[in-house]
């Protein structure tokens, strides 16, 4: 596989898998911090998630620097998930 094909594969994976991971993290985080009863906060965050996912995919395909994309996706996913679980009170 040529380096360009590899780059495209990596970018697509970042958009689909990395994007999904970050979106899940955003739901876990918002489910914990939105000022609503917990179940409603999760529902609100879940309903918003499809817009978040769309935005992340578009961002991945609009940003030239592939390495930066992966760093942002991984770190943001970990931070948001960790914070969400800590603030949510139960794992």
């Amino acid at each position: 596989m040529s380096p360009r094909s590899l780059a495209l594969l990596s970018r697509t994976a970042a958009a689909l898998l990395g994007g999904y991971a970050l979106t899940c993290a955003s739901v876990i985080f918002l489910g914990a911090v939105l000022p609503l009863p917990k179940s409603q906060a999760i529902l609100a965050a879940s309903l918003t998630s499809f817009a978040v996912y769309t935005a992340v995919i578009v961002w991945v395909f609009a940003t030239p620097n592939l390495k930066r994309i992966w760093w942002v996706l991984v770190i943001a996913s970990l931070v948001l998930t960790g914070a969400g679980i800590l603030l949510g009170g139960e794992a």
Partner: protein, 547 residues
Amino acid sequence: MSKVESGAAEGGLRQAMAWLHTWGGLWACWVLFVIFLTGSLGVFDEPITRWMKPHLPQAAEASGDTGLDDGFDRPGAVRMGQAWFEKNQPDAHFWGVGLPSDEDPSIRLFWQDPQENFHNTRIDARTGQPVDGSHERDSEGGHHFVHMHFEFHGGTAGIWFVGAFTMAMLVALVSGIVIHKRIFKDFFTFRPGKGQRSWLDAHNALSVLSLPFQLMIAYTGLATFYMLYMPAGIVAHYDSEEAYFADLLTQPQHQEITGIAAPLAKVDELLVRAEQQLQRPASFVSIEHPNDSSASVLVFGRFIEKPGEYRLLGDGGGQVFFDGVSGAQTDIQMPGELRGGAAQDVQSVMRNLHFAAFGGHLVRWLYFLSGLAGAAMLATGALLFMVKRRQRSLNEFGSATPRVYRVIEVLNVGTLTGLSIACVAFFWGNRLLPLGIDDRPVWEIVVFFVVWLLSFFHAALRPASRAWVEQLLALAALCLLLPLLNWLSVGEHLLLYLQRGDGERAGVELVALATGVLSLWGARRIARPRAVPARARQRAAVAEAQS
């Protein structure tokens, strides 16, 4: 394939989005076309079911009547259903009784066996005997299109499949908006008879005009299945889905099965109590863990559509929960009562928006046409891709380019016209398959898939332009002859329907006839393209050079 990715995230936002729109849109457009076409037909699932099952009564105008006495003995039906279960399915984990009504005067029974598989059957409300359906035209009816639309008949995997492509749709819409410079001007721009430019104009006009609908329908479709697609929040913060739901809707917690035998309360009496409190007839009784100490009974009030009174929210029929052993009432949700706060209201509105569960016939027609506009947007996009490259190959795939183009062309024919033919063939299968055979509804669906598969073979074996014309002619023939087939096979026809005021069944045939005429016109256009004046051709060439 070194040139395929040239353009990914290159050359500024608009160019990056153009790349994403072209390639993301191309690989998604065929599946999305299937989702849109079958979804549009699914809007009319009930009329289609009635056409396919001539023994069903004509649709009655909703009376909005909430009277408890509608001539059906519902407590008797519950006793009959319970007796059938005690005798035939004593070990099931779940019993459900669909109560008789004008729509279906039989008793529908549903159960979940100890292996958690769902089953159903029907018994006669007067005799308690199984309904003999061998003389009836047993069919999946319009539900076939609904199931194709949201799961391709593939269960949970199918729902995920459709969800993934719906996300692709959202991304294609957003990237399409970004690359579109003149979103309002293109409302009014259509230059027919100019090859590629016309296809682009058509694609733009269709997309821009129906954009609000396309965004809404894609997003609300995802929101409908949020628990499946996006379970992260629930998994992270709750022990189970049931616990989340009970918390959200402040309902009694789901009980685990205990294995301790306990006699079931008198369900017919619970039904009467529930109906008196809801002040309307019940439609369904569900019994969780019958004859176990954890048993619970849930009675659903009937959904009653009041003529001329349409709402996006709070139209539920209400439900009453009982302890299945003591018979004590554990919760009641009155008709129209809202729970779960604003977030749940939003989800309910989204679902009702997606299902066109408001506004009656007018809204259903609007959805049908908007859905077809979406299908046409996808079709023109797919065609545009090929029209552009048929004149001058862009050589994206190196030496494999002609072969890839050929595959795309075959997929275009087999999806756009092939699926349409398969949809009509499904109606033909309904009238031609013999009655009383085992799994008749499944065979109708087999007809659908076999015809669709054949259309791909045909597209692969014929030159593209011939394949288009031949498939359009086949589609036209099947559509235009459908009323005749109906008359020859079951003796009913359009005039009879109109005379009886059966707008639903008549509508099915009128849409078939309109589709037939359109396909005939399309076939003629392709077979004998209108002579394009030299000046117009010149202008088209200039426009193309600029685009």
